[in-house]
C-alpha cells in the first residue's frame, strides 16, 4: 500500500509499537469524539427523527431527486463532449506551425483557465441579458463547463502529444506522411492513450463543477435538495437530503475515479512506449 513511504521508518520494535499503539488509540479517540459530537448535535436538533426521513418513501420526491440527478448528468454529458472537442481543437491550435494560430489559441486557453467558472457562468446568465442576449440556465452551465474544462483538457492533450517520443513523428515524416496524417495516425492515438487517466480525472472535476449550476438556479441535484430541504410539509429535512445527495455525488465520482485507475493499470500493462510519468501531469 504505502511501499514508497515505508522507508521513512524502521520496522517498529517493542517501544515503537507501544508508542504507535498509543498514538493509534489517541487518533481513534479524537476521530470518534469528533464524529460523536456531530452525531449528538444531529440527534439533539432532531435530524434523525422519523419525520424528516419520511420523504425517502414518497414517490414524487424520489422522482424530483431523480429529475435533478438527470439534469446533473445531462449537463455533465453535454459539457464533457463539448469540452473534449474544445480541448482537441485548441491543443492542435497550440501545436500549430503558424505563429498567429498559436498566439490566439494560447491566449484563449490561458484566459479561460484564469477566470473562475462561477464568473463565467454569471457572465452568460446575468451578463448577457444586458447585451440583449438571453440564455437558459442549462446553456450557461454547459458553456461555462466547456470553456474552462476544455482549456484544461487542451493543456492535457498538448502535453500528451509532446510526451510522445520524437522518433515516432520523425519516422512518420520519413515515411512521407503529411503533418495532418502524422497527428491523426501517430501522435494523437498515443497521446490520448497515455493521457486517458488524466483526462478521466478532469471529467471528475467537470462532474463536480456541474453542481455550480445551483448558483444560477439550474435545476440540478443540489437545487432539488435545497427545494426539498426547505419544504415545511416534510419538516425541513435539509441535512438528511444533503447527506443523501452527498452520497450520490461521492458514488458517481468514485466510479469515475475507479475507471481512471483501471485505465491507468491497463495502459501500463499493454503500452510498449514509455508511459508519461504520473507526476508529469499538469
Amino acid at each position: 500500500m504505502s511501499a514508497p513511504t515505508a522507508v521513512l521508518y524502521d520496522v517498529p520494535g517493542p517501544k515503537a509499537r507501544a508508542r504507535n499503539g498509543a498514538l493509534g488509540v489517541v487518533a481513534v479517540i479524537v476521530v470518534a469524539a469528533l464524529l460523536a459530537f456531530v452525531i449528538v448535535r444531529l440527534v439533539a436538533t432532531g435530524q434523525f427523527e422519523g419525520r424528516v426521513w419520511e420523504w425517502i418513501l414518497y414517490e414524487n420526491i424520489q422522482l424530483a431527486l431523480l429529475e435533478g440527478l438527470l439534469n446533473t448528468l445531462r449537463a455533465f454529458a453535454v459539457g464533457a463532449v463539448l469540452a473534449l472537442a474544445f480541448g482537441a481543437v485548441f491543443a492542435l491550435g497550440r501545436l500549430s506551425d503558424h505563429a498567429w494560430v498559436r498566439g490566439i489559441s494560447t491566449g484563449v486557453v490561458e484566459f479561460f483557465r484564469a477566470v473562475p467558472l462561477v464568473v463565467l457562468m454569471f457572465i452568460f446568465y446575468f451578463g448577457m441579458p444586458s447585451a440583449g442576449i438571453t440564455v437558459s440556465t442549462f446553456t450557461a452551465v454547459v458553456l461555462a463547463l466547456t470553456l474552462y474544462n476544455g482549456s484544461v483538457l487542451a493543456e492535457i492533450f498538448r502535453s500528451g502529444v509532446q510526451a510522445v517520443p520524437r522518433g515516432q513523428s520523425e519516422a512518420a515524416y520519413a515515411l512521407g506522411m503529411r503533418k495532418s496524417a502524422v497527428m491523426r495516425f501517430v501522435l494523437l492515438p498515443q497521446a490520448v492513450r497515455s493521457m486517458l487517466p488524466t483526462i478521466v480525472s478532469q471529467l471528475v472535476v467537470l462532474l463536480k463543477d456541474s453542481a455550480l449550476g445551483f448558483l444560477i438556479l439550474y435545476p440540478e441535484l443540489l437545487y432539488q435538495a435545497r427545494v426539498l430541504g426547505s419544504s415545511g410539509q416534510l419538516g425541513r429535512p435539509l441535512l438528511p437530503v444533503a447527506i443523501v445527495v452527498a452520497i450520490v455525488y461521492i458514488t458517481l465520482c468514485l466510479l469515475l475515479t475507479a475507471l481512471a485507475n483501471y485505465l491507468e493499470r491497463r495502459t501500463r500493462r499493454t503500452s510498449p512506449a514509455p508511459a508519461v510519468p504520473a507526476d508529469g501531469a499538469v
Binding site: 513511504t5 498514538l23 444531529l42 462561477v118 446575468f126 451578463g127 444586458s130 463536480k208 443540489l222 441535512l239
Partner: protein, 224 residues
C-alpha cells in the same frame, strides 16, 4: 470604463473580500493539508485510515455541496453562531486541505528512497527524517503543484457569492440594482482575476525552471 470608475468602491470592497477569503483559507488549508499528509505516511494505521477517509470524502464532494452543508446545514446544528464569512473560510479550507494533502504526499514519494534510508541509518526517527531530510527535498517537487492548488482556491472563493458573502463574484447584483451593465461589470471581475492569478502563475513557472535546472535530474532518478 465608467462601469468600473463609478463603482470603484464596490469593486474594491469586494475584491478585498475575495483576497481576505483567499489568504485565510490558504493558510488554514496548507497547515491542515500538511498535517493530513504526515498522517497518511505515518506508521500508525488508525491515522492513515482517518486521513485517507477524510481526503476521499472531501475530494469527491462538489465544493458547492461543502458550502451547502456549512451555509445551510451548520446553523441547524445550533453549535455556534458563525457569520457566513467564517463558514465560507471553513468550507474552503476543509475542501482545499484534501488537495494540499495529496500534493504533499505525492511530493514525499518523489524523494529518492536512499535519502530516507540514509537518514534512518544515521539513527534519525520518523519525525526527524521527515522534517530534516525528506520534507526539505520534497518541497521542491511540491511547491509548483501546490501553487496550482492555491490558484484553484483563489478561483473557488467565488462560490461564496451564492452564499451571501461579500466577494467579487456577487457584484452583478449591486450593478443591476444601480442600473449599470452587469456584463461589463463581470468582464472587469474576470480581468481582475486574471490580474490576481498571473503573478502566481509566473512565480510557479520560474520556480519550476530554476529548480528543475539545478536538480540535475535527481528527481528523475527517484521517480519509480
Amino acid at each position: 470604463m465608467n462601469v468600473l470608475f463609478d463603482n470603484l468602491g464596490e469593486f474594491g470592497t469586494r475584491f478585498l473580500g475575495t483576497i481576505e477569503l483567499f489568504v485565510l483559507a490558504a493558510i488554514a488549508s496548507l497547515v491542515l493539508g500538511t498535517v493530513l499528509a504526515a498522517m497518511r505516511v505515518s506508521p500508525v494505521p488508525a491515522m492513515r485510515v482517518a486521513a485517507t477517509g477524510y481526503v476521499t470524502l472531501l475530494r469527491n464532494t462538489p465544493l458547492t455541496l461543502v458550502f451547502f452543508f456549512f451555509a445551510f446545514g451548520f446553523p441547524l446544528l445550533e453549535i455556534a453562531d458563525l457569520s457566513f464569512f467564517t463558514l465560507a473560510v471553513v468550507a474552503l479550507s476543509l475542501y482545499t486541505a484534501a488537495f494540499v494533502c495529496e500534493t504533499v504526499r505525492a511530493g514525499i514519494t518523489t524523494v529518492p528512497p536512499g535519502q530516507a534510508e540514509a537518514a534512518r541509518a544515521l539513527g534519525l526517527g520518523f519525525g526527524q527524517s521527515l522534517t530534516l531530510i525528506v520534507l526539505p527535498q520534497a518541497i521542491r517537487a511540491v511547491v509548483p503543484p501546490l501553487t496550482s492548488v492555491q490558484i484553484a482556491l483563489l478561483k473557488n472563493t467565488t462560490v461564496a457569492a451564492g452564499f451571501s458573502v461579500v466577494e467579487a463574484g456577487g457584484i452583478y447584483q449591486v450593478l443591476s440594482e444601480r442600473g449599470y451593465s452587469t456584463l461589463v461589470g463581470l468582464l472587469w471581475v474576470a480581468l481582475g482575476f486574471v490580474i490576481l492569478i498571473t503573478p502566481l502563475t509566473l512565480l510557479q513557472r520560474s520556480l519550476e525552471r530554476r529548480w528543475s535546472a539545478s536538480s540535475g535530474g535527481a528527481v528523475k532518478a527517484g521517480a519509480r
